[in-house]
């Protein structure tokens, strides 16, 4: 006789498992049915008449002063515009990660981007056409012509709202100068003087250097380009409608040779590689005496690093015959496909935040009361009547001695403010970064050879872009 016990048991076991699996599937599906038949969970009730938008350039939480100023600006704006809600995110534009975020739809409704990326973003369709709004903007005629060109496409349609521009200058520590026996009121005005000053300053203490160049995340190329301008160099030139790489021309090699000499002959530059604001931190903590900074960076001495801002002077970039410095800046773009309500709300707020004179005055007052910095002529994007109006307001609230930045203000009026390269600037910077890194890390590096190689690579990129 066949023993069915095992069979019965195993069948029962199989049957049990089958039934369990079926029951599980039924439960899962049934739960969905139940959920579907329930009234939909109430989402947070949004007022149909309120337009909400997000922006990317809220200050970092560590920058308490500017966060407070931003929040106060938002509060004033929302009070005046009860139908608009502003959501700020500290998601500063970073060309090394922005495109990744955009590709997966993880960008805010409006994003502040660098000058270097505006044309590229317009060309690849990452910016909304805002010509109609800009046409009616009251300060349109005050936009600097070079900036106007930057925010428009070839047909003249406007895609960007200009918000700020900076010039690169030289920041230095008064205390450090005094300790080295140098006059803080007489900073170097030529690169030869600069080199001599740095050598003297680096003797002040072990591990302290006269100067530190930037070299990471495209900032090395950024500052090197400014130095090239000051030597009269043009890293890219236009010939016959095509952009040609020119980073290995004699005027462009000179600044890299200067850095090499300072690193390996004078030892006035250290080995550390730095990115944006690393040199500001180093100036603040006294490990370097001089650094190239944009006009809007000295405020971080006080707001972020709690250093005595009165100790830091800002002067024009030393020169080597070019009588120029680099002008960069930011432009606000709107995400394409945004609704008209969002576009209008974002532009209204951006206008209020950056160019409304009442808001400017309120912002200056807010900066003062929360320990911020007012008075440094950092924003040079506008000319004409708007510039004069802003200067008058700043003069009422300034809390930084004019002597601190007078040399920089004078230089901004006398030096040629040359915009960052128009074509593939970030790519060029990324190819120049390794040149600066090589000079900092290897005594056997040859500046001419490094730039010859960078030029060849950049030309290949330009050729591919030119088709």
């Amino acid at each position: 006789m066949i023993d069915t016990t095992e069979t019965t048991t195993s069948l029962s076991r199989r049957s049990f498992v089958l039934k369990t699996a079926a029951a599980g599937a039924a439960l899962a599906g049934g739960a969905d049915l139940v959920r579907a038949s329930e009234p939909a969970q109430a989402a947070p009730r949004a007022d149909a008449s309120t337009t909400t938008f997000t922006l990317n350039d809220m200050p970092a939480q560590s920058d308490k002063v500017n966060v407070a100023s931003f929040n106060a600006t938002v509060a004033r704006f929302e009070k005046a515009h009860p139908d608009i809600k502003v959501i700020g995110k500290a998601d500063t534009f970073d060309p090394t990660t922005f495109y990744a975020h955009y590709a997966v739809g993880n960008v805010e409704d409006t994003y502040k981007v660098y000058f270097t990326d505006v044309q590229h973003l317009i060309q690849i369709g990452y910016a909304q056409d805002i010509s109609a709004w800009m046409k009616n903007w009251k300060w349109t005629s005050s936009i600097q012509p070079s900036v106007r060109q930057l925010i428009s496409d070839a047909s003249g349609k406007v895609y960007g709202f200009p918000v700020d521009a900076y010039a690169l200058g030289l920041s230095y520590s008064k205390r450090y100068f005094t300790a080295a026996g140098l006059d803080p009121n007489s900073p170097p005005t030529t690169w030869d003087q600069f080199r001599a000053y740095a050598k003297q300053l680096s003797k002040v203490g072990i591990g302290r250097y006269g100067f530190a160049p930037l070299s990471l995340s495209n900032t090395g190329g950024w500052h090197l380009t400014a130095m090239m301008y000051s030597y009269g160099g043009q890293p890219e030139i236009v010939q016959g409608g095509k952009t040609i790489a020119n980073v290995n021309s004699p005027a462009c090699v000179k600044p890299l040779q200067l850095l090499w000499d300072m690193r390996w002959r004078d030892h006035s530059i250290g080995p550390k590689e730095m990115g944006y604001n690393d040199n500001t931190a180093a100036l603040a903590n006294g490990s370097i005496a001089m650094g190239i900074l944009a006009g809007d960076q000295p405020r971080f001495f006080k707001t972020q690093y709690q250093a005595d801002i009165n100790n830091f002077m800002l002067a024009g970039l030393p020169q080597g015959g070019g009588n120029a410095t680099l002008m960069g800046g930011d432009v606000q773009l709107i995400k394409p496909g945004s609704s008209p309500a969002v576009i209008n709300a974002a532009l209204e707020f951006t206008d209020y935040r950056y160019w409304d004179l009442t808001s400017w005055a309120a912002s200056d007052k807010g900066q003062l009361s929360s320990g911020g910095v007012v008075g440094i002529p950092a924003n040079i994007i506008m000319g004409g009547s708007l510039k004069s109006a802003i200067a008058a307001i700043d003069a009422r609230y300034t809390n930084v001695p004019a002597a601190t930045y007078k040399l920089f203000a004078d230089a901004s009026n006398t030096l040629k403010l040359t915009p960052e390269p128009r074509v593939l600037a970030q790519k060029m910077y990324s190819l120049l970064d390794p040149c600066v890194q090589a000079v900092l890390s290897s005594q056997s590096s040859n500046p001419q050879a490094l730039l010859d190689d960078a030029n060849k690579k950049f030309q290949a990129v330009l050729d591919a872009a030119n088709g």
């Binding site: 599937a25 495109y99 590709a103 591990g207 995340s217 900092l440």
Partner: protein, 324 residues
């Protein structure tokens, strides 16, 4: 009909009818139906989030998104993406592969021996084993970015008062540039990456060692075998299979290294620590001047896949005898 096979005969094999085959298939399916049902969610998840992206990646390596805009359709470009990888001088594609191989070799030299050594030492300890296990495993708990940040800002600070330079100062050795130096950056990266990951590998070896029967060691000790002979004749043969598997997994993992070089050095200085995956990221997302091209980035991924697949196949062929 009987079939003749020499002096033996055996009944002719019965060929099953179609109905019989169908019945058997249905019975087999019914027998395994529950298992299939339980597997189904996992199959769906794997299909959606593993196999489909892999196949899509292969296809994308032959395509190009205009303006890198994934909202626009991709069009076929054949082998152009692959050609571009080798033709673009700014990519330094050959050097990138050499960097990756260099990292893998150094990482194996350090990262294969050290966890094994740590596991063996801990296995010998009678008291306080748990303390050492936790201590060596703690770096693994830290997120990689945090680990690399600590190494970058504190330990590898090239200033004379940087942590490691301070220690060198006690030994009367001058400050070192560490990751700021082209010659030292790769070794620094390997040390930091090994420190961050050795604890996990150590635990695996420790588990394998604790599976070795104690009586074998006792018998060997009674026969007068010292530490090294016990290690060579008992321990290593017993954990040989695990060691072979770990070697393969480690090679595959180190060839795909990304987070450590990206966060510690950014791929520098002067591209010395730029690996294949760092290049893939730069190429996909346009960082560090990359092409911002998903098609080219997918091509890099396919090349890496093929290289690792070929290596794994050869590895299994060569080590088949040892793992039996």
């Amino acid at each position: 009909m009987a079939v003749s096979r020499g002096w033996q005969t055996s009944p002719a094999p019965r060929t099953a009818s179609r109905a019989t085959i169908g019945r058997r298939a249905r019975r087999a399916f019914a027998h395994h139906a529950a298992a299939y049902l339980f597997l189904l969610p996992a199959i769906i998840v794997f299909a959606l989030f593993a196999w489909y992206p892999i196949l899509k990646g292969f296809a994308l390596s032959f395509e190009h998104y205009q303006n890198n805009n994934v909202g626009l359709p991709a069009h076929w470009v054949g082998l152009d993406n692959y050609r571009a990888l080798f033709a673009d001088p700014s990519l330094n594609f050959g050097a990138v592969w050499l960097n990756t191989l260099q990292f893998t070799l150094y990482a194996l030299a350090l990262g294969y021996i050290i966890p094994l050594g740590l596991a063996m030492m801990i296995n010998e300890i009678r008291q306080g084993r748990a303390v050492f296990r936790v201590a060596f495993y703690m770096p693994v708990i830290l997120p990689t970015i945090v680990s690399m940040f600590i190494w970058q800002k504190a330990l590898y600070d090239p200033d004379p008062n940087g942590f490691l330079n301070e220690v060198l100062g006690w030994l009367r050795i001058g400050p070192q540039p560490w990751i700021a130096d082209q010659g030292q950056a790769m070794i620094c990266l390997v040390v930091a990456a090994t420190w961050a990951a050795a604890g996990g590998t150590m635990l695996i070896y420790l588990a394998a060692l604790q599976g070795v029967p104690a009586h074998l060691y006792e018998a060997a000790e009674m026969d007068g075998a010292g530490l090294w002979r016990r290690l060579y004749h008992i321990t290593l043969p017993r954990i040989r299979v695990i060691m072979l598997i770990m070697l393969l997994l480690q090679i595959i993992a180190t060839m795909q290294i990304f987070t450590e070089p990206w966060s510690l050095t950014g791929g520098g200085p002067v591209g010395e620590t730029t690996t294949v995956m760092v290049t893939l990221y730069n190429t996909a997302f346009g960082s560090n001047g990359g092409a911002q091209d998903f098609g080219q980035a997918s091509a890099i991924g396919v090349l890496l896949f093929c290289a690792l697949g070929l290596f794994s196949g050869l590895y299994f062929l060569v080590t088949r005898r040892f793992s039996q």
